[in-house]
């Protein structure tokens, strides 16, 4: 008999009952909401004359539509203003806390949850946003849901869910210089494929995750969904406990010790049971860049692009479609490809440690962003922005020609004024390189780590961050 893993334990602690169709009615401990996927859900509540069942378990923020150059109200985009007003009204009417820009609390939902200590081990966390998997870094079941389900959770504090299988993804050994959490995430997706995770929750384990900071763990868990997994998590350990100590929503004193004890007890034991296990070697992961139109289409920065002519027939079409859209030539090197835009930010890589890494590269590389390149640094939250400014990071970026912005999703997706134009090619620290994702229907995205984006911005072309200076990438 083997023992339950973390997912089993958290699931069992929250299972209310089995529904007629076989799904579990699962209790939700934290419901995060934002302006894009909640207005229709509140409308459904109004239609049926329902209340928010557990407003104290519900927290709202605004991130997708908010401009990052000028957040003064009313917002210049009247549609965005209407959405802002809708979430303000809904939060007021239903008694839900809104982390608003006026209070300095606002930011990307997956940045503000952890930084305020709302996200804690052992929780079930949902949000109408696929990157909710980010919160798995704390050893939670954290899922993205659709708007109808947002309404379900608002009205009942629960949702209907079939239990996924659990796959343990171990990465052992030590990462080389210049290889970051983002590269680990891209390497896993490349290895297992963009739909390799369908039906699974991923437990990330092994030396690499043990040694990661919480922010690094968040980066990897964030991209679980890009590999098709429903969610991803890392078992709580001392790193988790120390990160949480003293944060706003975390218990204090004796309650904290009790909480910490429970958190640590949830970690999967040595003999835990899994439906599948996969092993990767840290030494084989390089600074990675995507070249295509899904996050699985990536190569080590020094490598050559795949050549459709050399591929089996079944793979040729998709690779050719991606290369054609990207305007790239099969068999060529990606390194040295000129870029038009550089974007550092998003819920994947918009935290303080990401900005520090990027700033270190800027300092080591020296020089300025060439005039023909637009470079943006967008902190993930107002608190990240303030902390970065306290360290002087904004000066490093500004002096090198980067535009230092206010907090939001920005150029990760096309819902606010930060957009690619035409066929611009963007080196981006975000998570999706889908056609049109960054705002221009023909715009092109190269996903990479924030350090690599910084190197690309200064060189005006794709660069191996390891060539910039050992000091910066140690």
């Amino acid at each position: 008999m083997s023992a339950p893993n973390l997912f089993d334990k958290v699931w069992d602690a929250h299972a209310v009952r089995t529904l007629a169709g076989g799904q579990t009615q699962l209790l939700i401990g934290l419901h995060l909401i934002h302006e894009v996927t909640s207005p229709q859900a509140f409308a459904m509540l109004r239609e049926r004359d329902l209340k928010v069942a557990y407003p104290e378990r519900t927290v709202a923020t605004v991130d997708h539509i908010i401009p990052t150059d000028n957040q003064l109200r009313p917002l210049r985009d009247s549609l965005a203003e209407e959405m802002m007003e809708a979430i303000e009204t809904n939060c007021r009417d239903f008694g839900v806390q809104l982390l608003s820009p006026e209070n300095g609390d606002q930011g990307i939902v997956h940045v503000v949850g952890p930084e305020r200590g709302l996200t804690q081990p052992g929780m079930t966390i949902v949000c109408g946003d696929s990157h909710t998997s980010t919160h798995g870094a704390f050893g939670t079941i954290a899922l993205g849901i659709g708007t109808s389900q947002v309404a379900h959770v608002l009205a009942t504090g629960t949702m209907a869910l079939a239990k996924p299988k659990v796959r343990k993804v171990s990465v052992d050994g030590e990462l080389g210089p210049g290889v970051t959490a983002k590269d680990v995430a891209l390497a896993i997706i490349n290895h297992l494929g963009v739909q390799g995770g369908v039906g699974y929750a991923y437990e990330y384990a092994g030396d690499v995750f043990r040694n990661m900071s919480m922010e690094e763990r968040m980066t990897v868990c964030n991209m679980s969904i890009e590999g098709g997994a429903r969610c991803g998590y890392v078992c709580p350990d001392e790193t988790t406990v120390e990160y949480l100590r003293g944060r706003d929503a975390v218990p204090t004193g004796e309650a904290f010790e009790k909480a910490a004890e429970w958190w640590l007890s949830l970690a999967s034991p040595e003999d835990a049971r899994y439906d599948d296990e996969v092993h990767l070697l840290a030494s084989e992961i390089e600074p990675t860049v995507t070249w295509g139109i899904n996050p699985g289409q990536s190569i080590g920065v020094g490598g050559n692009l795949p050549d459709p002519a050399e591929l089996p027939e079944g793979e040729r079409f998709a690779v050719q479609e991606a290369l054609t859209y990207m305007g790239l030539e099969g068999g060529q090197k990606l390194e040295g490809t000129p870029i038009d835009v550089a974007f550092i930010g998003s819920c994947t890589n918009g935290r303080l440690s990401d900005l520090r890494e990027a700033a270190a590269v800027v300092k080591a590389a020296g020089g300025r962003v060439p005039d023909r390149v637009r470079a943006l640094v967008v902190p993930g939250s107002q608190r990240v922005r303030a902390a970065a400014e306290a360290e002087g990071l904004h000066t490093i970026f500004s002096e090198a020609g980067f535009d230092w912005r206010q907090a939001g999703c920005s150029m990760c997706l096309a819902m606010n004024p930060d957009k690619l134009q035409g066929r611009e090619l963007c080196a981006s620290s975000s998570n999706r390189n889908f056609k049109g994702r960054q705002g221009s229907p023909t715009g092109r995205t190269l996903l990479m780590s924030p350090a690599m984006v910084a190197a690309a911005a200064l060189a005006g072309e794709v660069r191996d961050v390891r060539s910039v200076g050992a000091a910066a990438v140690a």
């Binding site: 401990g29 894009v36 809708a86 052992g122 849901i145 009942t156 739909q195 229907p441």
Partner: protein, 197 residues
């Protein structure tokens, strides 16, 4: 909700794998507070770049059964994607596989998501293209799709199939029933009871 056991509709062929929700409904159309009007923007950017896109092809204008590739609906969890397809007339989708959040969203709307082998899907596409006016029947009881006199097997996730067959795909009513159990369950979860227990 009324049970869904059979969907009879003309087909729409949409070959290709990994068609993500940003392509189904580009993000700029998410700047809205209702789902109204999303139907006309389904695949808007793909259509602009491909004059022969099936959603612009008059032959398929009355279609309601989409036949497509693997990993359909991957990416963003936006329910705006199935909402826009539904509002464009889509009532069932046959794919190689689905992204899970997308499939769950479809079930909540009563849109059936079935999977079929590559051979079956290419046959379906061939038959739809040969006669776009042919009515296809997706039978959720029998797990078959029939078109132009030919019948092929499909598969569906049990939970989604049961929900549609019994008309229980609007989970809200079911979830509300258990309010007392939910309150009780909450008291046993350490963090919801202030780590006292």
């Amino acid at each position: 909700m009324s049970p869904v056991s059979q969907i009879v509709a003309r087909g729409i062929p949409l070959p290709g794998d990994d068609i993500d929700t940003d392509r189904i409904i580009p993000a700029r159309f998410l700047r809205c507070v209702t789902f109204d009007g999303l139907g006309e923007h389904a695949f808007e950017d793909d259509r602009a770049q491909d004059a022969s896109h099936p959603f612009d092809d008059a032959k398929y204008a009355d279609g309601g059964l989409l036949v497509t590739g693997n990993n359909f609906g991957c990416g963003s969890s936006r329910e705006h994607a199935p909402q826009s397809l539904m509002r464009a007339g889509v009532r069932a989708i046959i794919a190689g596989s689905f992204a899970e959040i997308f499939a769950g969203n479809c079930t909540n709307l009563g849109v059936a998501c079935a999977t079929a082998t590559p051979e079956v899907r290419s046959e379906l596409i061939r038959l739809i293209q040969a006669d776009p006016t042919a009515e296809a029947t997706l039978d959720l009881e029998a797990l078959t799709v029939t078109i132009s006199g030919e019948t092929y097997p499909v598969a569906m996730a049990d939970g989604a199939r049961d929900a549609l067959l019994t008309g229980q795909y609007d989970f809200l009513a079911q979830l509300l029933e258990a309010a007392p159990e939910v309150a009780e369950a909450g008291q046993k979860v350490p963090y919801l009871s202030g780590f006292k227990a």
